[in-house]
């Protein structure tokens, strides 16, 4: 098999993916009354990437052969898909949804930036514990739970920064801090995986080569377990971090674009007019 045959023959039309995607689209259509705006395009793109990440060769390779393919899928599902879904939800819809209990109170708790931060960064750290990851790729049900949890946690993570309801968002500078500290969290994990040495995830060391592509991957493409793991770690580290970086740039751009009133005014006494005084203290 050459690389093109591999890429064309490893599509895997998982029913649960297609059903979820259909439900997401129909649900969106019904709740918005099938009135599509520019935002809807983002939402639909999000669903599309969701499907692609889970039915394309990325899924098959990431589950059996290549940690790096898993990592690309992971970044798509945790950072890209939820962001696009969230950006695509109209404000009015989100406001209506937040009035429905228990969703409203749940988002109040989960949307708390500290909880959302720990969930977002924790999803990366916990799901990548080597023993857990090795178990997950071998277990269909756990695997589905993991993928869905990525998207849900991703939505919670982005909520304090890109919530459709402005009042739920953090102020721009705090958002930047929120994102850069998350970037640090993902950097440290990426660094650990990159420099840990081959064999951190034993599932990829000797995969059951049912379609006979291992020689191609290991030989022709030079994706030895060590290189594969490095690519995975670095993908989390560098492109992963760039997503947070771009997001902070977007918040800063939005901030400078917004009218001045929305900004917090310092409330300390020290900022008042200093009056003439020769006293030192």
């Amino acid at each position: 098999m050459n690389i093109w045959q591999v890429l064309s023959s490893t599509w895997n039309m998982e029913p649960w993916v297609l059903i979820t995607a259909l439900a997401l689209l129909v649900g969106y259509g019904i709740t918005t009354g099938f009135r599509f705006t520019k935002l809807s395009a983002l939402y639909i793109l999000g669903v599309l990437i969701f499907v692609l990440a889970l039915v394309s060769p990325l899924d098959y390779l990431g589950r059996t052969y290549l940690f790096s393919a898993h990592m690309i899928q992971h970044i798509l599902l945790l950072l890209i898909v939820p962001l696009l879904l969230l950006l695509g939800i109209p404000k009015a819809l989100a406001e209506r949804a937040l009035k429905i209990e228990p969703l409203g109170s749940a988002m109040k708790v989960l949307g708390n930036p500290i909880i959302a931060w720990f969930l977002g960064v924790g999803a990366m750290w916990v799901w990548h514990l080597p023993s857990l990851h090795n178990t997950v790729v071998a277990n269909d049900n756990l695997y589905i739970v993991q993928q869905i949890s990525f998207v849900l946690i991703g939505i919670i993570f982005w909520w304090p920064v890109f919530s459709p309801v402005e009042s739920r968002r953090l102020s721009p500078l705090v958002s930047t801090l929120y994102l850069s500290s998350a970037c640090l969290g993902c950097t440290i994990l990426g660094m650990l995986i990159t420099f840990a040495g081959a064999g951190l995830y034993t599932a990829y060391l000797n995969p059951a080569d049912s379609i006979g592509i291992l020689p191609l991957l290991r030989g022709e493409l030079c994706l030895t377990p060590g290189v594969d793991q490095q690519i995975g770690g670095l993908t989390m580290w560098v492109p992963g971090c760039l997503i947070y970086l771009v997001a902070s740039m977007v918040t800063i751009a939005r901030w400078y674009g917004a009218p001045e009133e929305s900004e917090l005014i310092p409330n300390s006494g020290a900022g008042r007019l200093a009056t003439a005084s020769h006293k030192n203290k």
């Binding site: 850069s180 490095q230 970086l245 005014i265 310092p266 900022g271 200093a274 009056t275 006293k279 030192n280």
Partner: protein, 556 residues
């Protein structure tokens, strides 16, 4: 024992003279941000002279092949101490000091948020400097292991002298000081702004100090922990960085550059801030694209913490790692390029007034871009493999740190000296200083690019008489001597201007930020009355009430 305990005198004058009654005490015990700022500047000046002398010794030794001016051991001590001094005791204290002086004034505050912590930060730098330089008086002299102190060379079996231990202790003190001043700056800028000085209206210098402070608080702990581990290794027989006993020498490199690369941006971001203040004032235009200059600073800050491994291309991290780090490193050129474009666009169509601060600011752009371009080149791993540890790298980072940070520092000194002292610096001497610097600097370092490509290794005390190496090194050494002369002119200028400089008045440059609204030097309490802040250029709005920067701010 004398029964008289000196009472710290209440400050009455902004700049108490030393010969006055308890004048010395009023400086040493001061918690006033302006006095501490000036002490920072003076200290960095002293260290600059010391580090400069070390550089001259290095250059004299290299003036001709197989020269025996100093021994290899002394040479190693010289380049170690030169690098350490210039980075930790010259550029950092200068930029932090100028920040300490100006940040409260620029945001209309009375002082820093934590004045005593501020004093502690300053005195820790002095303490660290004394510890570092004390090592010269120990049995086998100062540290010889380079400013990067790679393990295992810096570890016990290979460096038995006390130099590296003093080096670590001194730098730990400076590290604590930097974190403290970073926290102090963050709290000051976030909570002490005068009404109307929203974060979006911060002077760019203050904004860049804010971003730098976050970097300080995040990355200095990395190196401080590594220093502590090295101390444990050296004094208590731990083996964090000794591979022979199960440690990892590469780990030190990761820690060091994990701090070391953001450090580069700690050294250059406040310099960007100075340039972003000087260029608009001397072009008589507001900064072009304030939002982009501010936003790109955040991007640089974030990118800078993720690219350190480009200092380690030669270590053998693997092609994949090299590739990713090459790409990430090159990305930094984008936000930096955004800044350069904004500065040029600010000058474009402006009424440019080439006073000395502006000369240095313009030269900064040119020299820094040259350093930046070689930087993009060596971000590519294969090019780095060819030139790493050669004089090409020496040339590259001197263009960034001298042509960048120090040129900005000179611009800042000429620009704010009237505010600091109430007197103008001499323009004639300033122009002499400028042109001597330009000639000396480029003569010293430009030729080193070629030496590097020809294969001359750095950190080596001499070289063989290969064709042209002797003459090219001689050119470099003569350049260094000219550079030394330029520094003498600079110091002479400071002395002359302090004694008999022209009276400056409150706002000699017709600048727009709040520090120019008070007297020069500012009164002890900074402001009698802070002008209202309704835009990014409060003093412009004050002078031109009919055409304020923000039209909706016209209401009185």
């Amino acid at each position: 024992m004398s029964s008289r305990i000196p009472i710290v005198p209440e400050n009455i004058k902004p700049l108490p003279l030393l010969k006055e009654n308890e004048g010395m005490l009023s400086w040493v015990a001061s918690v006033d941000h302006k006095q501490i700022g000036i002490m920072y500047l003076l200290a960095s000046m002293v260290f600059f002279v010391i580090g400069g002398i070390e550089a001259l010794v290095i250059r004299i030794q290299l003036a001709q092949p197989e020269f025996g001016f100093i021994s290899p051991e002394v040479y190693n001590q010289m380049f170690t101490m030169h690098g350490t001094t210039m980075i930790f005791f010259v550029v950092m204290p200068f930029l932090i000091g100028v920040g300490v002086y100006l940040v409260p004034l620029m945001i209309g505050a009375r002082d820093m948020a934590f004045p005593r912590l501020n004093a502690l930060s300053f005195w820790l730098v002095i303490f660290g400097g004394i510890l570092l330089y004390y090592s010269f008086f120990t049995q086998s002299g100062a540290s010889e292991v380079g400013w990067f102190a790679y393990a295992p060379l810096s570890e016990k079996p290979f460096s038995l002298n006390k130099g590296p231990t003093y080096w670590v202790l001194g730098l730990l003190a400076v590290g604590i000081s930097s974190v403290a001043s970073g926290l102090n700056n963050i709290v000051t800028i976030l909570t002490m702004r005068i009404k109307g000085m929203t974060i979006r209206r911060l002077p760019l210098f203050v904004w860049m100090i804010l971003v730098t402070s976050f970097l300080l608080v995040f990355v200095i702990p990395v190196i401080a922990s590594a220093f502590s581990m090295m101390l444990l290794d050296r004094l208590l027989g731990a083996t964090f960085f000794t591979p022979a006993h199960g440690g990892s020498a590469i780990l030190w490199q990761h820690f060091f550059w994990g701090f070391g690369h953001p450090e580069v941006y700690i050294l250059i971001l406040p310099a960007f801030g100075i340039i972003s203040e000087v260029i608009p004032v001397f072009s008589r235009k507001p900064i072009f694209g304030y939002e982009f200059v501010a936003g790109s600073t955040v991007a640089i800050g974030l990118l800078s913490v993720g690219v350190w491994a480009h200092h380690m291309f030669a270590v053998g991290l693997g092609n994949v790692a090299n590739l990713y780090f090459s790409l990430a490193s090159m990305l930094i050129a984008i936000p930096t390029g955004v800044k350069v474009l904004n500065w040029v666009a600010t000058m474009w169509g402006g009424k440019i007034y080439f006073a000395t601060p502006m000369l240095f600011a313009v030269a900064f752009i040119i020299e820094f871009v040259m350093g930046g371009l070689t930087g993009v080149a060596i971000a590519s791993a294969p090019i780095d493999w060819v030139v790493t540890d050669s004089y090409f790298i020496v040339a590259h980072f001197h263009y960034v740190l001298y042509g960048g940070s120090l040129f900005a520092i000179f611009a800042g000194v000429y620009y704010w000296f009237p505010k600091f002292t109430g007197r103008m610096m001499s323009e004639t001497l300033g122009k002499w200083h400028f042109w001597l610097t330009i000639v000396g600097f480029n003569m010293t370092f430009f030729i080193q690019h070629f030496l590097g490509v020809m294969g001359m290794p750095r950190r080596t005390y001499t070289y063989q008489d290969f064709p042209y190496w002797g003459s090219m090194n001689l050119v470099s050494t003569i350049g260094a001597l000219i550079l030394a002369l330029s520094i003498l002119v600079f110091i002479w200028n400071i002395f002359v201007s302090l004694r008999s400089g022209k009276e400056a008045g409150n706002n000699p440059w017709h600048a727009w930020t709040l520090e120019w609204a008070t007297s020069s030097p500012p009164a002890v309490h900074n402001f009698d009355l802070v002008p209202p802040v309704r835009g990014r250029r409060p003093l412009w709005d004050l002078e031109h009430p009919d055409t304020p920067d923000e039209p909706n701010a016209k209401v009185v």
